[in-house]
Symmetry: D2
Subunit: 95 residues, 4 copies
């Protein structure tokens, strides 16, 4: 049985940080656009792109979380804790 | 009639930059969580919070954009351009 | 200038009703699946499809509404009313 | 261990059907609004309400599915099948 993954992030850490770095760059770009009076539509489209990039990161983490933590948690009879957390997390993701 | 707002961002620039700064801090927090092997659910919830904060910024810009640029553009008979852009922008926001 | 469209639906009425009929059929299909104890994932996927179909209808109506009612309303100096309504509507669509 | 729930819907069947009936009524209301040339904003808001009602039904089914089928499937060593399906379903729900 796999280890409970509560003490390591789910997913390829290096790639996830590289993706988060790109989002950070996008946010800085958005700040610069606001400062330099960019056209509203362009700022809004950049915000949509940053959100889509965050969704991409979340999707990777969620998929790994399901395959690792959730499976091992349930096999270790911690289903109540694991599923309660998952429902809370999915609720926030779907809002 | 109001000026066409294509050369100034729609909304209180100072407040918008302050909000974008907070999002930038959230993204750095997410990177740190990934580096330090935070629990997946906690990272996912932080990503949802950053997305909600970006939505808040977009909502302010969109509302001001509608009240200013869209109204003045249409009054200046640029409705085709203004509405085409708006439909594209809303399409990205709703995806 | 176009007429204010407050007394006719924005979009091809016949096509919109045909699409709404298909959604009604999807909802009846979902009810049947629930009654016949279909597998949860299949029911959830049908619900997602019905939501996507509703989004498709909403997109057509919104686009036509922007091109017709919103433009004519603003040209008739009713921008406050028209934009207030639009912001409320978009707020509900984006929730 | 609970039974694998693949042969019964997750959730209180009677209540779920009652909720689906209400959505069906909403869709018929939307068709009537389109036929009677209701104001676009009103139709769009009704569509948003129907989507929210479908989300409510999906949320109940998903929560029960996680607590029952997913848990029992994993305990029965069918994690690959169960998690693959779940990822597909969540992907459609989050689109």
């Amino acid at each position: 049985m796999e280890d409970n993954c509560s003490n390591k992030i789910c997913g390829d850490k290096k790639k996830l940080i590289a993706r988060a770095n790109r989002v950070e760059g996008q946010i800085r770009g958005i700040k610069r656009m606001i400062e330099e009076d960019a056209y509203c539509d362009d700022v809004l489209n950049q915000i949509s792109s940053a959100k889509a990039a965050l969704d991409g990161i979340a999707k990777v983490i969620l998929e790994n979380h399901l395959r690792k933590c959730v499976v091992s948690g349930i096999k270790n009879n911690e289903e109540n804790k694991v599923i309660d957390e998952l429902i809370y997390t999915l609720g926030k993701m779907m809002k």
